[in-house]
């Protein structure tokens, strides 16, 4: 494997807006090939990698979505582009961001902002809606028409950046850190015995419908599902009910969306092997692939492991690589200990 920092930079800077995940998939395919892990691309575009277990005792499916939030061109307004959002974009972050418009060729551009000289003070405090905002790629109306059309995808653009304390900032770390942790997991699994077959689904369109999780869990029919995603890390000025922090290991979710037997088992393994972990309360349906995996087929015992992340859904998300490594390590240990005893019977009763 490449060193993790280089690989995370590559994954972060690649564009993979929901339904145009190709560039990210290419990186994943390349890394899987290097790891000598066989993979297939399914009907909807998920990449499913498989590492057979020594006894074929069961099937565990891990899922990390590879798509990211982005924008889409709605129409050409003279020399600028109007757009709508793809996924949960915060309109507050848009003015002054850099983008790539995927027209006939990729076009670098910016989201325009009106200088303070032209706007009254009161208007400056109002968040501009996507109808009011626009993209400028520096072309004339005529050139624009030749290169861009309604429905073209637009990705946010941001350099990956190292901060202090081995923290890294960039776009789409939601959910490329999890993608990285699954690649790292395959590397770990080379050195550890596992009886179960390990499927890793790199899923598409999580930010929209969960299409990738629905289809991959239906196809694979796993006995156990593990969604790997990012979780809200505690930020400065954060409400006190959010307790997960960076540098404290993966967060294991508890709640109706997760299987209590599996959840307590992975917590026990984390304790036994002294892997730092955190618990996060998930009172409702998690907004992750776990949501769809759990209700696939006849129901699949599922857990959610989250990597702590700051400033989610902005181009300056922040993570720690250490948490990614801990996640891969905890997952490998859990997989090597997997047994049907963890979820058979009424674990909800205890």
């Amino acid at each position: 494997m490449d060193d993790l920092k280089t690989l995370l930079k590559k994954l972060s800077e690649a564009t993979g807006v929901s339904a145009m995940e190709k560039d990210v998939k290419d990186i994943v395919k390349e890394e899987l090939a290097k790891l000598k892990i066989p993979f297939k691309e399914d009907l909807v575009g998920n990449i499913v990698a498989l590492k057979k277990g020594s006894r074929g005792a069961g099937k565990v499916m891990l899922a990390s979505h590879i798509d990211e939030i982005g924008l889409m061109v709605t129409f050409l307004d003279e020399n600028i582009l109007r757009f709508t959002t793809v996924g949960g974009i915060d309109e507050r972050i848009l003015p002054g961001q850099e983008v790539i418009v995927y027209g006939k060729r990729p076009l670098k551009g910016v989201i325009g902002s009106i200088p303070p000289h032209f706007v009254s003070k009161e208007k400056q405090n109002k968040v501009l809606s996507t109808e009011e905002l626009f993209i400028d790629v520096g072309l004339s109306a005529k050139e624009l028409k030749r290169n861009v059309e309604t429905g073209n995808f637009v990705g946010l653009r941001k350099n990956f950046q190292e901060l202090m304390n081995e923290r890294y900032s960039g776009k789409s770390l939601d959910n490329r850190v999890s993608v990285l942790s699954l690649l790292l997991l395959f590397d770990e699994l080379k050195r550890i015995n596992h009886n179960w077959d390990v499927y890793s689904a790199f899923t598409v369109q999580e930010e929209i419908t969960g299409l990738g999780a629905v289809s991959s869990s239906y196809n694979i029919q796993p006995d156990v599902g593990i969604a790997v995603d990012v979780g809200f890390g505690k930020q400065s000025n954060f409400p006190s009910e959010y307790t997960v922090e960076l540098d404290k290991g993966p967060a294991i979710a508890i709640g109706p969306n997760l299987h209590p037997g599996l959840e307590s088992s992975i917590v026990q393994i984390a304790k036994d092997y002294e892997v730092p972990y955190q618990i996060v309360a998930a009172p409702g349906v998690t907004g992750t692939d776990a949501c769809d995996i759990q209700i696939s087929r006849q129901g699949i015992p599922t857990i959610l492991v989250s990597i702590p992340l700051l400033y989610m859904h902005t181009p300056c998300e922040v993570v720690m690589l250490k948490d990614v490594k801990r996640t891969a390590r905890l997952l490998s240990l859990f997989i090597s200990h997997l047994s049907s005893d963890m979820f058979k019977g009424d674990k909800y009763a205890t």
């Binding site: 400028d136 050139e143 907004g287």
Partner: protein, 337 residues
């Protein structure tokens, strides 16, 4: 064009040293005298064969930016604006801080966790903070209160003519002025790179007092008004339609005679020009004009979209045309009456 390098340099009002040192190196072999005044203005003098007219060409070195105002116990930084910036363009951007250019991000609460009202309001700068990854204020030894911070933007070419970068206001003026300082003139010419324009045209005030000039031409990067077709928005100047001349802004009314001369030269030289929408912004001209016995002032600007944000766009054709126009105007004024 030196604009690429100039745009990537950091120099907010009061922190112009990096820009000043770069410019010094580029002009020192072409001028008779070069000095830095007590205000930080870089004043270069080119002695001509003749004694008059004495002309100032001025561009300001400073850009809008930020200053670190405090270190909080949890390792985050509080900060303030230096010059006019809409808070909306600060959110979710990377900044570089101080001489060591330490990177930090302006993070906000994730959209998933917002109350309905919060979605509609731009947070105030007081609610925002910079996160450099430190876990406590003890780790912030390389950052001092008073350090300046800048948008972490790289200069880039977007298309044949359109370039992207920060601080085009007024590094485009600096770049033009360096090009001009390297030419020969037969009259006394002061090429002046000023400081602290963005916090109230302050460097220009002492320049006007120091130099007793007949004319002053201010080179600017001015806000283009060609936003999308929304009636309430300004329309001029446009990107790609040439140098932009000021009739009146919030700092002055340009000298009518000098403006006429410039317009006539533009027409003669077949350089397309445009008039800036009156009543917006202010420039060093507003200070130099009212110094000493009064100075005939005019502003010639290159339009740039989205100035005072992390990413402005400019047309390189406007740059070339502005250079051509300013050179023709200088030659004309140099001939005297």
């Amino acid at each position: 064009m030196l604009l690429e390098k100039l745009s990537n340099l950091d120099g907010a009002s009061g922190d112009e040293a990096e820009v000043r040192n770069f410019i010094k190196g580029k002009v020192k072999n072409y001028v008779t005298n070069i000095e830095v005044d007590p205000f930080g203005n870089l004043i270069c003098f080119k002695k001509g064969r003749k004694k008059s007219p004495i002309i100032i060409i001025d561009a300001h070195m400073d850009e809008v930016g930020f200053m670190i105002t405090g270190k909080r116990q949890d390792g985050t930084l509080t900060f303030s604006k230096v010059g006019g910036i809409n808070t909306s363009v600060v959110i979710a951007k990377t900044l570089r801080i101080g001489r060591k250019k330490i990177r930090g991000v302006v993070g906000i609460k994730p959209v998933h966790l917002l109350e309905k009202e919060e979605r509609k309001k731009v947070p105030t700068l007081k609610e925002l903070y910079i996160d450099v990854g430190a876990k406590s204020d003890k780790e912030l030894k390389d950052i001092e209160i008073g350090d300046f911070a800048y948008f972490d933007t790289d200069f880039e070419r977007l298309s044949n003519n359109v370039i992207k970068g920060k601080a085009f206001d007024d590094r485009v003026g600096c770049s033009l002025l360096i090009d001009i300082a390297r030419k020969e003139f037969n009259f006394p010419l002061y090429t002046v790179f000023s400081t602290q324009e963005e916090i109230g045209l302050r460097g220009a005030r002492v320049i006007g007092n120091r130099i007793n000039a007949d004319y002053a031409i201010i080179l600017e990067g001015t806000g283009a008004g060609d936003f999308p077709s929304r009636k309430e928005n300004a329309r001029v100047p446009f990107l790609g339609k040439g140098p932009t001349l000021t009739v009146m802004d919030r700092s002055m009314i340009a000298d009518r005679e000098l403006l006429e001369i410039i317009i006539n030269i533009a027409k003669r030289e077949k350089i397309s020009y445009q008039l800036k929408q009156p009543g917006i912004g202010g420039t060093d001209a507003g200070r130099i004009q009212v110094s000493q016995r009064g100075v005939k002032c005019s502003v010639i600007a290159v339009p740039a979209r989205y100035i005072h944000s992390p990413v402005s766009l400019m047309n390189t054709k406007d740059y070339r045309d502005t250079f051509k126009l300013v050179m023709a105007v200088l030659r004309h004024l140099g001939r005297g009456r």
